[in-house]
């Protein structure tokens, strides 16, 4: 149902343009047809009126010349036709409302010219169908519709020289609503042609627009200068140029900031090394240990900042990695420094990736769980072409509103800020960047039983294991 609605609601430029064109075509055709019908009807009406007036005048003249009443009566009947009934009578018809409309008046005027002798005694009006006596002409107001209206007949009476009357009753043949289906073929053909031409030509017209959007969508801040193609109509070329200059400025800005941050982190190494060396000369063990811890923390910050800047900057070579072995190294390391971490990893699960940064990403996720949670469980599984590392802990979890924000650079959950081991707020940012860079996904959820669950999923190794390496 929704699909139908969406299908009927034009959303693309092509659909909109075709809709507009079709609506215009419909209106033009409808108005044209109506005008045509009105013109035709007017011409037919005028011709019929003239013909009627001439027949009435000639019959009146002819009957007027006949001497006897019986001859007149006979002649009148003889001159009757299917469309015009003629009667001879001694008396005038009674019509309440003579000459009710323009058609009657115009017919009357014409008859007066054709029959100058009878001009003073002409009665033109309507009588109801199958009732010759009288009709309510006022009900009929529209000349055109009268022509097709069969419930009233036009009655004309003319007095002869001897005072008797000729009654004419005109049976106007109803102009049957005439629709030629063949007439619809032309607009139909035009519709089809318009749709075809519009779809093809508009796709051609909007192609640069699509490419423009594609190029803008693919823009990657870390990659080398990329440009939106400058082609297509002038407006689009202008937009592309503007976009390109904007992209350049963005890249320049980011590059400058990155360089500044990298330089700062790099340059801090020398003074830190100095402090580290000097610290070794300190006799006071407590002081030395404390300073060492501070230095380690500073190192960690520099390390992760540089890593954050480096990850994604350029393609790193990919290799087949034994993920289980890597997880063992990471978890053993965490266990060695006193964390409660249990790993369940079946052997032989391989993925293709950049080993150093994959290890960094997984280390960040697992170390995070060890740092903020307890009783960490790491499980490695495979599901449909993906390997999945699930890291569960029994810690406090993360407030729902922070679940997405923890991936932002330098963002830290409030409770971890106050801790001395707060970290840099880059761990998960780096992890996500690496994992997504390998076509994977990382999701955070609070477990219903308490604690956090992190699921890292990445495509399994697609390259065949080379037996050639064995021998």
């Amino acid at each position: 149902m929704m699909r139908l609605v969406r299908f009927l609601t034009p959303d693309t430029v092509v659909a909109r343009a075709v809709t507009v064109l079709l609506l215009a075509l419909l209106v033009v055709n409808a108005v044209g047809y109506m005008t045509y019908r009105m013109g035709i009807d007017a011409i037919i009406g005028a011709a019929r009126e003239r013909e009627l007036a001439e027949r009435i005048s000639s019959i009146t003249k002819a009957v007027n010349e006949l001497p006897t009443a019986s001859e007149r009566d006979r002649a009148a009947h003889a001159l009757s036709t299917l469309t015009l009934e003629v009667h001879w009578a001694h008396v005038a018809p009674t019509i309440d409302n003579p000459e009710p409309d323009a058609m009657c008046r115009s017919l009357s005027e014409r008859l007066k010219k054709l029959l100058p002798r009878n001009s003073s005694a002409l009665i033109v009006g309507y009588v109801p169908h199958s009732d010759h006596r009288q009709g309510d002409g006022s009900a009929v107001s529209n000349q055109i519709s009268n022509l097709g209206d069969s419930s009233y007949n036009l009655q004309i009476s003319a007095r002869l020289d001897d005072g008797s009357w000729l009654w004419f009753l005109s049976y106007v043949p109803g102009t049957a609503p005439y629709i030629s289906w063949s007439a619809l073929l032309v607009p139909l053909y035009m519709c089809v042609a318009i749709i075809l031409i519009a779809v093809l030509s508009l796709r051609w017209v909007t192609r640069p627009l699509r490419l423009f959007a594609d190029a803008a969508g693919k823009f990657n801040i870390d990659a080398e200068a990329q440009k939106v193609p400058e082609f297509g109509p002038v407006e689009l070329r202008t937009a592309s140029r503007a976009m390109n200059s904007m992209l350049e400025r963005i890249q320049l800005l980011v590059r400058e900031r990155t360089a500044a941050l990298a330089a700062l982190s790099h340059d801090l190494r020398t003074p830190i090394t100095r402090i580290q060396l000097r610290n070794e000369l300190t006799e006071d063990d407590t002081l030395r240990t404390a300073t060492e811890a501070d230095l380690a923390e500073m190192n960690e910050m520099i390390q992760s900042t540089l890593e954050y800047l480096r990850v994604g900057a350029g393609n790193m070579p990919r290799r087949a990695i034994d993920i289980g072995a890597m997880l063992h190294t990471i978890c053993d390391e965490q266990a060695d420094i006193g964390h409660d971490v249990a790993l369940n990893a079946p052997p032989g699960i391989l993925m293709s990736g950049s080993p150093n940064i994959i290890k960094r990403a997984l280390t960040n996720v697992i170390a995070n769980a060890c740092k903020y949670g307890e009783k960490v469980k790491v499980d490695l599984t495979t599901t449909g072409g993906h390997m999945q590392v699930t890291v569960r802990d029994e810690g406090p979890g993360i407030p729902e509103q922070d679940l997405e924000r923890v991936f932002e650079p330098f963002y830290r959950v409030e409770s971890s800020r106050s801790r001395t081991t707060g970290g840099t707020g880059l761990g998960l940012t780096i992890a996500r960047k690496v994992i997504e860079g390998h076509g994977g996904l990382v999701t955070l959820t609070n477990r219903p039983t308490g604690g956090l669950e992190v699921v890292v999923s990445m495509p399994l190794c697609s390259m065949p294991v080379t037996a050639a390496m064995v021998k």
């Binding site: 090394t273 060396l277 190192n299 890593e307 990695i321 034994d322 890597m326 390391e333 391989l350 390496m469």
Partner: protein
Amino acid sequence: MQIEATKNFVNDHGHIGVVDDDPQIRLLVTQYLRRHGFQVSAAGDAKGAMELLQATQVDLLILDVMLPGRSGLDLCREIRATLSLPVIMLTARGDEDDRIVGLEVGADDYVTKPFSPRELLARIRAVLRRIRGDDKPGSIERDDVVRFDGWILDLRRRELVSPSGTLVDLSTGEFDLLNAFIEHPNRILTRDALLEFAKARSAETTDRVIDVQVSRLRKKLAQESAERPLIKTVRGVGYMFAPGAHGP
């Protein structure tokens, strides 16, 4: 410092050349190494380093990658070409390229900046021990890669590749342990001996840690060599590494 330096038998430990452009670091490293019984000469750039090497006979050179003028890598390459002198490079931390290039131009080991002096000391001792204990004196050439039973251990990149071509991640301790086993195939290595090798990198290694690390290393090797354990336990003594026909 002087008192401490004289307290030790200076010449017993060796003569170390330190090349770093930062005068503070130069001074501090010099002081630290002297305190631990080394004779130390220092230089601030490549030119000074060459002069130093001509004037004195050093046993080991500590060389910073980033030097004003000629880079440490260049210098290392030249030293490698003319002298048989062990070199430890000081590289930027985590900069993979620096590290690999450093090892490729012939450095024997590397220490990442910022480094702890104890780590530097451990590396110096390890390199000196390796050189002195070598069966072929004067030759410090080692193969870049070692093959055993289809496995490949890349010593430059510190990587282990399985027979099926998969990278198998090792911790620093596991790598050093495996390296020690490979250097002494089919020989029983006591826990104490293994401890010495492991100490080269991490100072706080104990007896039990060796057992744990051997077990971890075994588990990783067992993934593709399960039918025949490469590392055998010699009850009450230690361990023995026994590669098959494809061993070194």
